[in-house]
Each structure stands twice: as C-alpha cells, then as structure tokens.
C-alpha cells in the first residue's frame, strides 16, 4: 500500500540533507537512522531532515526520529527540520521533538541556520 521506503540524500557544504519520502514508519525510520549514523561515522556533524515529501508519520517513525536526535546531541552535532506539514509539526510538538530541533519552512532557511551555527 505504501510502497518501498524512499529516501534521498545530498550534501550541501557540511550538511547532509535527507529527503524523507512516503510513510515514515519503522521501515523508513530505520533507513533514516542508518543514513544519519553513516554521516556521523564518516565525521559529519550536521543533518537536515527534509519532510516535504513525507505523506504520513506514525508514532514508530517518530520514535526513530527521537532516537536520531538523541544521537546527534550525544555527538554534539547539529540538526534541523524543514518543509514539515502542519499535522507533522503538530506531532513533533506533542512528542516534544520541536523543543530540541528547529523546523523551517524552506530548505534554504534551514541550511542558512545550520551554516550560521557551525
């Protein structure tokens, strides 16, 4: 019903931009986690999660995002969200994710924010 997990990445300066497409459930959550972990293992410290192509997020998907945020904080990295739909912003607020990670309307704004905080 939901198809395969769809994830794309690109590097912008020192930031890894991760485009999360489709239904963010356990399968896609694991995939996002893997991509971010590899970025940090390779020495990267900045991640932008782009939710513009995310249709739905369930609680398991959110738990993976929380885990990712924890790891980023542990490693003193930086992280931001962008293009988050209204319902997903609401979910991030309910789960207090929004307290730890800033969301931006556009990818450009988010990248500028991360660049400033290097």
């Amino acid at each position: 019903m939901t198809g395969n997990p769809t994830i794309r990445t690109r590097e912008e300066g020192e930031t890894l931009v991760v485009y999360v497409g489709g239904y963010l459930n356990n399968v896609l959550g694991e995939e996002v986690e893997r991509v971010v972990r590899e970025q940090f293992d390779a020495g990267g410290r900045q991640v932008l999660l782009h939710f513009g192509e995310t249709r739905l997020v369930n609680s398991i998907g959110i738990s993976f995002i929380i885990g990712i945020v924890e790891k980023v904080m542990e490693r003193e990295g930086r992280m931001a969200f962008c293009d988050v739909s209204r319902i997903n912003r609401e979910l991030f607020q309910i789960t207090r994710l929004a307290k730890y990670v800033r969301s931006f309307d556009t990818e450009k704004d988010a990248l500028e924010y991360l660049a400033r905080t290097v």
Partner: protein
C-alpha cells in the same frame, strides 16, 4: 510478353491499376520531389513502412507510373524509376543477382521506349541497350557469369547491384524503388545489412534517390544505423487512407461493380475497415459476388462479418497466418496471443510480458514475436512493443479464437461481431450519461484489479446486510490468509461491453463483460468471466435480479462455463428490495452499493474518475439532529501497513462531512495509531482488527476493536527505552474524546472528533497553526 515472366516484380506491377489508386497525395508529392532532386545530386532517400497490405507497394508503383509519365525535360536527365521487390522466392544471392540484372535491363529498355524486350535474354537486352549508347553492359554480364560459375554469391550480388550505377548519363538517372526490403536480411550466406553496405556510396552521393519499403522497419533501420545511413533516410509511415480519399475509392469501386450503398453509410464503412484500400476492394467484391444489397447499417455490418468469418477477408488473413506460421500449434498460439492483444486490448509493451501472456517457451515466444515484427504486425522500439490496431485483423482473430478455442460456428461469431459493433456505436436508450460514467468507472476499476486479491465479501451487499442486520453499508476485508470467504480475483485481461448471440435472439446485454484468468494463468481451464450490470433504477427489484440471472445462465451456456467460472455482479443505484437481496444471495449474484465502489476507487487510487463530474454526496450541513448515522465497517489483517487502508477509508468518510484538511489529517493519524496499538499489543489470535466509522451531523466516531488481551495506557519499560509508546498520547491529542474499554473479548478504542465547534463535548485541541519551533514546553 509480360505473361511469360514467372517470377519477379511483374506480378505486383501487373496487378496494379493506376485508376484504382486513391489518395496519398502528400506522400506522393514528397517522394516525387525527392526523386526529382536526385538529378541535381541532392535527392533524399526514404524508408517507407507500415503494416502488411496497407498500400506500400501501390504507392511505389503509383510513384513509378508518375515518374515514367513525367514529361521530357529537354536535355536534362530524367528519373528512371526502377521498381524491384525482394521477395522470399529469391533467397539465394545468385538467383537474386541474376534476376536483378534482368529486371533492370527489362525495365530500362521499356523506359527507353523499346516495347517488349525479351526478359530472359540479358545478352540480347544488352545489345538493345547499346543502340541507346550504353556500352560496357556485356562486360558486366561476363563478370557476373564468372562469379556465378564460381558460386560466389556475394560477389555476384555486388556486381549486379552496381550495374545500374554504371548506366545512366545524359538521358536518365535511376531512382530505386525497393519493395519488401526486409527480405534482404534473409539471403542465404549473406550477412544482414550487406545489401546496404554495397549500396552505401551510391546512397550517400545523393544522385540516386532510394526508396526502401517494407513491413519491418525495425530490422531495416537497425541495418541503416549500422551502416551510418539512418540520418540519410526519412521515415515515411503509411496508414489508412484519409476519409475523403477512402470515400472516393468507395464511389469508384461501387460504380465499377454497379453497387448501390447509401452514401450515408460510407463514412462508417471507411472507419470500419480502417481506411485500408485492400479491405475496401475485398468488401465490394464480397457484396458483388453475393449479389447482396446494402441498405442500412445492420446490412453493412452483416456483410462485413460474413466476409471476416467465411468470405474474402477471412481467406485473406487465414492465408497470411498459414504462410507466416506453417506449423499448426504455433499458429494457434500466435493467433490466441494476438487476439488477446488486439481484441481484448491486453496492456502489453514488453517482451517479457508478451512471453508470459503467450505461455510459450522463450525460444518459441521470441520466434513468434520475430515473425510478427517481420510481417509488420508489431513494432519494437527500445524494447517497447507496439502492435498494429487493424480493425479487420482484430475481428479475424476474434473469429479464429471463438471458433478454434470455443468451438463456435461461423454464424454465431458473425452475430457476435455484428452485435458488438452495433452495441458499441449505438448506446441503448435509457442509458444516460450518469449510467455510462458509472459503467466506465467500474470498467476502470476492473482493470485495476489486475492480480490484486480482494475477497468476495468486498462486493457482497447481500451477505453484509445479513451479517450486520441491515445496519451498515460496507465491510472491506483485505487479504486474510485462510479466510473462508476470500477469493482471488482473476487477472482481468479484457473488459468489454455486453454480449449477445444474434440479433433478436437471447440478449446478453450486460453493461460489462470482463474476461480474466485465475492465478494469472492464461489457460482455458482458468478462464473466468465477469458479467456486470449497473442497475439504473433507484430501487433494485427481484424481477431485475431474475432477469440478470437468466442472462447469466445463457452466457454460461454459450461460453460453456462451469458454475464457478462465471462471476455475477450487480451494482445498485440506491436501494434494494429485501426479496431482491435474498434472490441475489440464492443465485450467487454479488450486489454492491455505489458507496462501496467509491471506496474501492479510493483504495485503488482512482477517485478522480468518480469526482469528475462528481455525484452529489450526502451533505450533513443542516441535517436534523439525531438522524441515523452512516456507518462503515472495515476488517483488516494485522499486518504491516494495513493501517494505511484504515486511514484512506477514514479520509473518504471524513470527505463526506466536508471537514477541513487539518481535521482529516488528525483523524487519519488517530486511527493509524489505534491500529498500530492493536497490532502490537493485543496478541490477537484471529489476527484481525475491526474498524467502524460512524458519521453523523455532529461527529465522526471511530472504533478500533481487537479480540486480544488488551494494552496498558502507559509506556512499557521496553518502550521507554526505545522512545516508543507515543500512540495513545498522540490519539488523545488528535481527537476530542477517547475511550478505551478492555474486556474478556478484547479491546475497543473509541475516538470521537466533533464536527461543529458549538457541539457539546470536550474542548477542541490543536486547531490552527502549531506553535513556533521550540515554543512547545
């Protein structure tokens, strides 16, 4: 005398009658211009292609005739059209080269005004040619004789093909009209493309316009590309005649045979035959020899169907298939395959798909496809297959299939062809646009069911009513392993309009008849037919069910179908008499409500079909309080991503109430979370979760019920470690009221979203834009 020539191009030339040629003005103009430009060294070359017998040869011969008739130009060389057909008769290069020289000499002498040269005396023709100032001819013949004696086919061929370029000069320049060029790839002991290698320098010079024609452009263009000639050639596809040209041909043919066909029928007749001239001639001959009169559409269709099933059009295509596939079994396989593609419009564009549909070994399947391509019935471009859409061929294949596989008589098949066409063109009275639209929706839906598993209960209104005491409208069950009521829908290979045996006979006038195959196995044993009626009346009466069942029985009898191979489906408009529901259950007729169909469409991503133009949905705005709510039920298997089905149905239900998109999103998220909770925590033995959606003017109520052991409201220690356990918290935030009841039979989560801010109930949460990042505490 031309009559003594046993083989070669004379057959085609002799049968060509210039006065029979109509239309193609644009093509002729382009080719004539290119031929004329050859005199100035800027001539173009063309690859002319199209399906078999579309009129490619006639076009070349008409061009040859026109060029030969072109006026003298006073000292400027004239184009000499040399027509040559590479037929399969001359597959040996020695024979071909010999014949090529003879043919060239013969046509050239005729062009130069030498009456009737002796075609089998090349030396004599050489002598005649010398009178016109051409020398060196005998030397070329001697060289050819030497290669022939040595059995050197390739050298003999090079010698022969170079011959025309040694001639010419002040009087003329040759324009090559090479027909059936694909056969040059089948010469014995000569590699594919050798012919173009030999001709390459002459083509490149621009002095010798070359028009290659054939049914298999793929092979020839591949050779052209290998030789670096593809850019030199312009591609010219030949199709049916324009309607205007086709009408002129009808008038000419009818006058010649003194037939009277009402002028009003001729456009239809042209369309019926795809504007293909050879079919027009054959149908006129059919009518003439049967001494028949055509006075109306039915008469025309009858004569056409007779011709396809037992007359000239039948013989025409039968011989074609007998020649192309001499082996009976392979012929049968090829016909059945092509029937499914052209008649049933099986969507097919890959070699893998074709082999699968054919059910043959890879070797045999590829051989059949190769033969289709060679004969011009199929085009292969970048591994994408395309089949020709010849209407007469499609009807012939229908005849061959019905007769060969189902054992039906010619008259039965003819009646089917006539009726199908008449039904298709003239929709029955009383079937308004709404009905037609609904039929189209169901048709598309059936196509989308391709290889999907949908259980019987999905369609069965009667069983549902019985099971739920008439309260609800729908139950959807998706893919439960071992489910008793579960059936696998066949692979739908064709959806067509209704079916009748013959005019005035038993009416099998279903709205749709879908042919499919169980388990994706395209065998007769697994053939299943769906008969579908969309009931136009507001209320379904028992009488209509009875009538439908009678037609189904006739259809089953006609098709010799066992009981389980005919699926019967009626789509209601609004309501059904209890007696009709009972009768449908008795006969095994599935009944469905449009609401069900709309939900299916949504599930299959087809909702736009229904939405334009959209049928009015029930509006709850201003509806009296306390009105009986609409109720939907859904049973889902507890397996990955099933919750998405629940969300999509919730979206559809919410759409009925015209709520804003934020509310829809919250409802979807809430039901997703409730489902996930049930999947993860209930430990249900049945592996099912039952959902109910109740829609009233005031609120949407969602129930998620499992038969498991229940789940706690807080996080388990393990969940806390893994950042899990957010489900219930999210639900509580997303909807206005949540109630969780756990009992011995399982757990029910009831979620309520109020639709009107003024309604009693808990205060609404989360309306409007969320807080700014970081503001949530």
């Amino acid at each position: 005398m031309a009559g003594v020539r046993l083989f070669g191009t004379m057959g085609a030339e002799a049968s060509f009658r210039e006065e029979d040629f109509f239309g193609r003005e644009e093509e002729l103009s382009a080719l004539t211009r290119a031929a004329a430009d050859g005199g100035r060294g800027i001539g173009s070359s063309f690859m002319i292609y199209g399906p078999p017998n579309i009129g490619k040869t006639s076009l070349l011969l008409k061009l040859a005739h026109d060029l030969r008739s072109s006026p003298e130009t006073g000292g400027i060389p004239r184009p000499f059209p040399f027509y040559f057909s590479f037929s399969q008769i001359l597959s040996h290069p020695l024979a071909l080269s010999q014949h090529f020289i003879q043919e060239f000499l013969w046509q050239l002498l005729r062009f130069l005004g030498d009456g009737q040269p002796s075609p089998f005396d090349p030396e004599g023709m050489c002598d005649q040619l010398s009178v016109h100032g051409f020398t060196g001819c005998r030397e070329i013949l001697a060289a050819h004789a030497k290669y022939t004696a040595a059995g050197d086919g390739l050298s003999a061929l090079v010698n022969a093909l170079s011959f025309p370029f040694a001639a010419g000069g002040e009087l003329f320049y040759p324009v090559f009209l090479f027909d059936d060029f694909q056969y040059t790839g089948k010469l014995q002991g000569v590699t594919d493309g050798a012919m173009l290698s030999i001709l390459r320098p002459y083509i490149k010079s621009g002095h010798y316009p070359m028009f290659l024609s054939g049914s298999s452009p793929g092979r020839v263009t591949a050779s052209l590309k290998r030789e670096g000639l593809f850019g030199t050639f312009q591609m010219l596809e030949i199709g049916g005649l324009s309607q205007e040209s086709s009408l002129r041909l009808w008038q000419y043919l009818c006058e010649r045979r003194r037939l009277e066909i009402p002028a009003s029928l001729l456009p239809r007749a042209s369309k019926r035959l795809g504007g293909i001239p050879v079919y027009q001639r054959m149908l006129v001959e059919e009518i003439f020899f049967r001494n028949a009169r055509v006075t109306d559409v039915v008469g025309l269709e009858n004569l056409y169907a007779l011709s396809v099933t037992e007359g000239k059009l039948n013989r025409y295509w039968r011989e074609f298939f007998e020649n192309t596939f001499p082996e009976r079994a392979r012929r049968g396989r090829a016909i059945r395959f092509l029937k499914r593609v052209l008649c049933d419009r099986f969507p097919l564009d890959t070699v893998e798909g074709a082999l699968s549909l054919m059910g043959a070994s890879q070797e045999e399947g590829e051989a059949v496809l190769s033969a289709f391509e060679f004969k011009g019935l199929m085009k292969s471009d970048l591994e994408q297959l395309a089949f020709i859409g010849d209407p007469v061929l499609a009807d012939f294949l229908f005849w061959a299939f019905e007769r060969g596989v189902l054992g039906k008589g010619g008259s039965q098949v003819a009646a089917s062809i006539v009726q199908a066409r008449l039904s298709h063109v003239e929709p029955e009275s009383g079937q308004d646009a709404g009905h037609a639209r609904r039929v189209a929706v169901v048709k598309e839906l059936m196509r989308k069911w391709d290889l999907r598993e949908v259980p019987l209960l999905l369609l069965d209104f009667g069983k549902f009513r019985e099971k739920f005491g008439g309260k609800g409208l729908l139950e959807v069950v998706i893919g439960m392993e071992g489910e008793q009521v579960r059936v696998r829908l066949p692979k739908i290979s064709s959806v067509s309009t209704g079916y009748r045996t013959h005019r005035g006979g038993p009416r099998f006038d279903f709205d749709l008849v879908a042919y499919g195959f169980l388990e994706g196995d395209f065998s007769e044993e697994n053939l299943v037919i769906w008969a579908v009626d969309v009931v136009p009346e507001k209320n379904l009466a028992a009488r209509a069910v009875e009538h439908f069942e009678n037609r189904c029985r006739l259809l089953a009898l006609e098709k010799r179908l066992p009981a389980d191979r005919l699926r019967k489906w009626m789509l209601l408009d609004e309501t059904a008499d209890p007696a009709a529901v009972d009768l449908a259950a008795q006969y095994g007729v599935h009944l469905s409500h449009p609401t069900q169909v709309r939900l299916f469409l949504n599930l299959f991503g087809l909702e736009e079909l229904e939405r334009e133009p959209e049928a009015p949905r029930p509006s709850f705005t201003g509806a009296p309080r306390g009105e009986k709510p609409l109720e939907y039920e859904l049973v889902l298997p507890m397996k990955a991503d099933s919750e998405m089905v629940a969300a999509r149905v919730a979206e559809e239900v919410a759409a009925f109430a015209s709520v804003d998109s934020d509310t829809v999103d919250r409802i979807k998220m809430a039901i997703i979370e409730a489902c996930i909770n049930a999947f993860e925590h209930s430990a249900s033995e049945s592996g099912k979760v039952r959902l109910r959606y109740l829609l009233s003017p005031e609120k949407i109520e969602l129930y998620v019920q499992d038969d498991g052991k229940g789940f706690g409201a807080g996080k388990t220690p393990e969940e806390s470690k893994k950042n899990r356990g957010w489900g219930l918290k999210l639900i509580r935030e997303l909807v206005d009221d949540v109630e969780i009841v756990t009992g011995p039979d399982g757990t029910v989560v009831r979620m309520v979203k109020f639709l009107d801010a003024g309604q009693p109930g808990p205060a609404r949460k989360g309306e409007g834009a969320p807080d700014a990042p970081g503001a949530d505490g």
